[in-house]
Amino acid sequence: MKKTMVTCAVALCAAVLFAEKVAIKFELPPPHSSGTPKEIKSDNLEPDPGPGKLRAPIMVEPEFTKKLTTENTKVTTSEEAVTGENDYVVDGDKTPDATSMLQLPGGLQWVQLDLGEEHTIAAVCVWHDQGDERVYKDVVVQISSDENFAKDVTTIFNNDHDNTAKLGKGTDKEYRERNDGRPMDAKLAKGRYVRCYSNGSTSEPVNNYIEIEVFGK
């Protein structure tokens, strides 16, 4: 009996240790005609992976690859939209045009998703507008069990390197918007709410969101 238990425990450990990880698959919209390449000046900008090259995939165990956002996911925002509707960011339409865009006013703004219940979150992918070549500023993504983000907050991405947003200094890099969005590794953080901040872009003061997807279990 004892020997059987030990064998089972070893087998379980092996299964956990050697479980094959898979890449979270994001369905990508077609590339956008973004016009004349721009020189974007920033000390904190990551190198562009180059045309056609996708950003590094997020590898997780298969059980964490479920898409948690649906078209019924409740979406709230820091301020009323200038154009578009809140549910545009979860409607599955990643068409990089203005008809699927939620636009929030200038300055630091956020979009918040309510996943309905507590989840283990593996990844969040954010598609901002890519109407022209641009970089969104102070991109911060947080997960929490508290609707108001007053406690139990996990920051999974923060490229606000000079703490403009007063959410803490971030160490992530700024990045150019592309059709593959920005997959962010949530490292299996637990929470019900996902909040995505931004503070305008290098092209305009307003904050344009096309889609946000959350994956996990």
Partner: protein, 214 residues
């Protein structure tokens, strides 16, 4: 605060930037070389100027969730801010450096004239019953023209034949106005028929242009 500051601040308040998007997409489709961004900015200046003046004409007090320019600064200042944007737009095109710049300026002037006439006819006709032909003519000039110009400038800047792109932009703009009026609940039966007609035209012309996402 100067007129320039007021005008530029208004441009940053929001909007979908559809016309610059269309211009960029056409420029890219035609394999354009050079910097198209100044032309895109000019198109947005023309559009924002028309909004400032439109808000005065309609007496609208709010846009993009904020007081309109005339409501915030008064009618005379708002007129001046709109005028500045028009002038600035022409300046940007004239300084864009494209070989086709004279044709681009000419296209913008013609488009501007038609837009003013369309807006004028719309204001004059507002108390009269609207028939489909008259309605389309107004849409064509007051909204379609701006999209036609956006597509046309992208093609001209790239040194391409502008006719198919202009045709697509015009149909798209008319459809855009029909959808806008449908959302406002005006003439639903007439607009539903026109919507179908212009959806078909837009799809056909778009295929002819083989234009990508914008």
């Amino acid at each position: 605060m100067s007129i320039r500051d007021i005008a530029i601040e208004f441009c940053g308040r929001g909007g979908k930037k559809l016309r610059p998007r269309l211009c960029r997409a056409v420029f890219a489709r035609c394999g354009g070389a050079g910097d198209i961004e100044g032309v895109c900015e000019a198109l947005e200046c023309f559009h924002k100027a028309s909004l400032i003046h439109d808000d005065i004409q309609d007496g609208d007090e709010e846009r993009y969730g904020r007081p309109t320019v005339w409501k915030e600064h008064g009618v005379p200042v708002a007129i001046a801010a709109g005028d500045w944007l028009v002038a600035h737009g022409y300046r940007l095109i004239s300084e864009s450096g494209f070989q086709a710049m004279p044709q681009m300026i000419h296209a913008a002037v013609l488009s501007h004239v038609r837009l003013c006439e369309g807006q004028g006819d719309d204001l004059l006709a507002s108390a009269s019953p609207v028939r489909p032909s008259g309605y389309v003519s107004i849409c064509e000039r007051k909204t379609g023209e701006a999209f036609a110009l956006a597509a046309q400038l992208g093609a001209l800047a790239a040194g391409a034949d502008d006719a198919p792109f202009r045709r697509y932009g015009l149909a798209y703009g008319i459809l855009f106005q029909i959808n806008d009026d449908l959302a406002d609940g005006a003439n639903p039966a007439m607009l539903a028929a026109l919507k179908k007609e212009y959806e078909d035209k837009t799809a056909l012309y778009r295929d002819e242009c083989a234009i990508g996402m914008w």
